[in-house]
Amino acid sequence: MSDQTHMHAEHDLAPGDEEQHSVGVRILGYVVGLALALLLTATSFFIAGTDLVWQPSIPVALIVLAIAQMGVHLVFFLHITTGPDNTNNVLALAFGLLVVFLVVGGTVWIMAHLNANMPPMDQIMRMQ
């Protein structure tokens, strides 16, 4: 039996729980998260109303900033990490995100094509 390696399987972390830190370190994490979130929010509101950037880039920028801010919230407020004790939480999140992207992306894609292929409303009314 001496060729066997002993590994201790640590328990998972509950979603929202952090590894053992002192109170000061934990508060600092929330402060950093709040600062980043405020910065991203301010950028979003600034970008939405500005004339300084190429206008078609604004929707893309807003979506990227929103996703970045959701990431900040997940990491600093919900404490979702890539560590091995978080695997279950990350897998559940990944599945949730898959469904979200299928629903939103699929709906927008299909409905845009339906709109493009439909005759204008007054023509439909005349066909009836």
């Binding site: 060729d3 066997q4 390696t5 002993h6 590994m7 201790h8 399987a9 640590e10 328990h11 998972d12 972390l13 509950a14 979603p15 929202g16 729980d17 109170v23 934990r26 508060i27 929330y30 402060v31 998260g33 709040l34 979130a37 405020l38 929010t41 979003s44 509101f45 939405a48 109303g49 604004i58 929707p59 807003l62 979506i63 900033l65 929103a66 801010q69 959701m70 919230h73 997940l74 407020f77 919900l78 279950n88 939480n89 559940a92 999140l93 599945f95 949730g96 469904v99 979200v100 629903v103 939103v104 709906t107 927008v108 409905m111």
Partner: protein, 213 residues
Amino acid sequence: MSMTATAGRARADPHHIGVVIEHPGPASKRIVTAYGFWVFLLSDIVMFSCFFAAYAVLSGQTAGGPKGSEIFEQGNVAIETVCLLLSSFTCGMASIAADVRNRFWFYLGMAVTCVLGVIFLVIEFREFADLVARGYGPSRSAFLTAFFSLVGCHGLHVTAGVLWLLTMMAQVFAKGFRADVLRRMMCFALFWHALDIIWVGVFSVVYLLGSGV
């Protein structure tokens, strides 16, 4: 070497790969509870994604009614956003205080969270009441239906969160920082942070993107 598990119940090497993993047994109730609530939150987010998809499709269908850029007030939305962000922060402070069993900071953090949540709800309610009074209620156009259902659904969640928050303060007051109360507090913190994540989507997609349409 016998095939039976003679190594004891705490050790297992079922595939004989030479690695013995010491299983610590079933997960604690805190982990199971929080994980179950996490799965609920994700399904809640999936439900919100349907409202988001409906809004994205219907945001241009104004039926001669107002467009988003004509009814959205960015100043109000900015105040609402800051309120929710700060309340997420104070909720985090309250959960740290609960972990170290400090009643004063727990009550203070929860009270500030409650006040910020109520300010958010008041601003949102006044916005809705103002729109309805001007004749731009949810029955005016498909765009307004999608707007009221998405933002109103988030507002209902925040209302439920505020009620839950008051319940948690009362439970800590009556029962102290018991293990079951701390589990509920952890679920509440998850819920409140998740609401803030959804609000990020709401203000980006509905108010900022919608006012450009």
